[in-house]
């Protein structure tokens, strides 16, 4: 399968303005992030809150302009496009947002919320509503809801509306930014299954962003783990979940509570310490301040991506030398 979306060394820092608009510092939100998404597959992006996942999504959507890097959609750099060309590519990548209570306009009816993006793209209002109705049905919302206002809907139902709105432009890629995080567990499952179904039905590719490891494991073909704006590990989902290699990934997986009887995950060393401030990230490897295996060289340079096996890359200095066993212990 061909690659549909590729991010190349995306970088974004937000300046912090001090008194009288002087630049006081900068938050490095996304730093040299690259990944590629294969057609009709799902890439999961995991990481703690504040690691730049949402910024990455907005960079791909071009809601924020990156400082450097490229976003290639079918080989074409989105960031150089403008006007009508950009408009036509934008339609192909749509986003489902995190908070279903803020992502739907409370003053428009459900159907108009969905139809809005269509009539903005030159479809007549009546035609747009017809199509919106079709997608509302596709996401499993009863037809009687179409003319209601969002206030009468539950979180899960709202998220369905948000998904319908993303689908209505017939995109090829959907970016789900923490799309199920605000929902109850049972509703989460429903929405996840819905996403899976819609993915096959409309042959979509999915970028799935979440801090919930279980959810990502369930839905993703590939996984990318981020820490403080950097990618620490990426690869095939099963491989990463079976044998996590980067100390951060291992710690992250260790901190997931187990549902199995008799298995206590609590004494599996969870990550200690706080996420360092992105205003002032540690030199070299950004995880070294919390890494149990950190050695002196970690602070010197950012570790390069090392391919451990096909499709699994780790950014950790320990895999470069012979000290690999240390981590795996």
């Amino acid at each position: 399968m061909g690659v549909i979306l590729e991010a190349v060394e995306l970088k974004k820092t937000f300046p912090i303005k001090g008194w009288l608009g002087k630049t006081k510092g900068a938050v490095s939100a996304v730093h040299d992030v690259s990944f590629s998404l294969k057609e009709q597959s799902t890439i999961g992006i995991v990481g703690e809150s504040g690691c730049g996942k949402s910024t990455l999504a907005r960079l791909i959507m071009r809601l924020i302009e990156p400082d450097q890097g490229k976003v290639l959609f079918r080989g074409k750099d989105i960031l150089t496009l403008s006007g009508a060309e950009l408009q036509s590519v934008r339609k192909k990548i749509q986003m489902v947002f995190q908070n279903p209570y803020s992502s739907i306009n409370p003053k428009l009816t459900i159907i108009d919320n969905v139809a809005f993006s269509l009539w903005e793209n030159g479809v007549s209002k009546q035609e747009a509503r017809k199509k919106a109705n079709y997608y509302l049905e596709a996401v499993g919302l009863p037809r009687s809801y179409a003319t209601r206002y969002p206030s009468s809907l539950s979180g899960g139902q709202r998220q369905r509306v948000a998904i319908a709105r993303a689908l209505v432009l017939e995109p090829e890629i959907i970016i789900a930014d923490e799309a199920v995080s605000a929902l109850d567990k049972s509703v989460q499952a429903q929405v996840l299954n819905l996403l899976q179904e819609l993915k096959t039905e409309f042959s979509l590719s999915l970028v799935f962003i979440s801090h919930d490891l279980n959810v990502v494991e369930y839905i993703s073909d590939e996984v990318m783990v981020m820490y403080l704006g950097k990618v620490v590990e990426k690869g095939i989902a099963n491989q990463i979940y079976e044998t996590p290699n980067h100390p951060y990934t291992r710690a992250l997986l260790n901190s997931v509570p187990s549902m199995e009887v008799g298995v206590s995950t609590l004494n599996n060393s969870p990550i200690t310490g706080e996420l360092p401030s992105p205003m002032n990230p540690p030199s070299g490897c950004r995880f070294r301040t919390r890494c149990p295996h950190a050695i002196e060289q970690c602070s010197n340079m950012y570790p390069p991506e090392i391919e451990i096996r096909t499709g699994q890359k780790v950014s950790c200095i320990l895999y470069e030398s012979s000290s690999r066993e240390k981590v795996l212990l």
Binding site: F116, A146, T147
Partner: protein, 300 residues
């Protein structure tokens, strides 16, 4: 799958038309509003005042400008003059009704003008932000340096006497607060994710403002503006009282109050009448706008 899809589209075509949908929400607002007894009564009072002013020539039997010298300063309840007569023997009721036209005009028109201009400036400043926001909002801040009433007096004194100039003066005074409210409301809405969603669908700024911004700030602005009507009314009467508004012998509630002030020791009740009408109208408008606010909030 294609046939299945077309089937779905066909089954999904029954959509309520826009008309019906709007009806249901407006009905809801009206129902809630009518349940609020105070607001409802105020609304009726307001309607009575407005209509009797509009229909003044039909209701009033006297000339508002010419009086009977022999019938000066008749007390309230006199025969033929329910509300008495003023210092020139003109029928008070007639003058109140005719005067109400100008007073209400000076109450409503400035709010309409300021509402449009202020909302426009505030929405532009709030939505686009940056340098545009700084220019618009800081310029409007200059107006805050003066107390509203002084500013209104200053402007209407500079423009000269007349109802038109009063309307202009009050409009200018009202623009900054409306713009400020619009700006802060828009700033809040702008951060919502549905704005981002609209942007990512390629919507133009104009449509985002029209469908997403205005829809969400309208009720706040509307309620604020309705409360301003009563203030505008009082302000206009105040300017007339000071001799900056309507020129005599034309009736207007403020100027009537001014003319009658010399008679306060002779016939105090008579003097109060124009003031009473200003008070009742302003109060009714405030109560109606309170009720409207509650009703609009429930719609959400």
């Amino acid at each position: 799958m294609i046939t299945e899809n077309t089937e779905r589209i066909n089954t999904a075509t029954t959509i309520l038309t826009r008309k019906e949908k709007e009806d249901s929400t407006t009905k809801k607002v009206i129902r809630v509003f009518c349940k609020n007894r105070i607001a409802f009564v105020s609304f009726i009072v307001l309607l009575i005042i407005i209509f009797s002013c509009l229909l003044a020539p039909l209701i009033a039997q006297y000339d508002p400008l010419e009086g009977e010298i022999t019938d000066r300063l008749l007390v309230i309840g006199s025969e033929g003059h329910i509300l008495g007569t003023d210092e020139q023997g003109r029928d008070m009721l007639t003058r109140i009704l005719y005067g109400g036209r100008l007073s209400l005009l000076a109450g409503i028109v400035p709010v309409l003008i300021a509402g449009f201009i202020g909302s426009f400036l505030g929405i532009v400043a709030g939505y686009f932000g940056g340098i545009l926001n700084t220019i618009i909002m800081r310029t409007l801040d200059i107006f805050y340096a003066f107390p509203a009433i002084l500013l209104a007096i200053g402007i209407s004194a500079a423009l000269g006497q007349g109802i038109n100039n009063i309307i202009i003066a009050i409009s200018i005074v009202f623009i900054p607060p409306v713009a400020r409210i619009a700006e802060s409301a828009v700033k809040g809405v702008r951060e919502e994710e549905f704005i981002e969603a609209a942007k990512s669908s390629g919507a133009r700024n104009f449509s985002i403002i029209r469908y997403h911004i205005i829809m969400n700030v309208f009720s706040r602005l509307f309620v604020y503006c309705t409360t301003q009507i009563s203030i505008s009314l009082v302000l206009a009467s105040g300017l007339s009282f000071l001799g900056l508004g309507v020129s005599p012998p034309n009736p207007e509630w403020g100027i009537m109050l001014n003319n009658l002030k010399q008679q306060i020791f002779i016939n105090p009740l008579l003097t109060i009448i124009p003031g009473l009408f200003i008070f009742i109208t302003a109060l009714a408008i405030n109560l109606v706008s309170d009720g409207l606010r509650d009703a609009l909030e429930i719609k959400e």
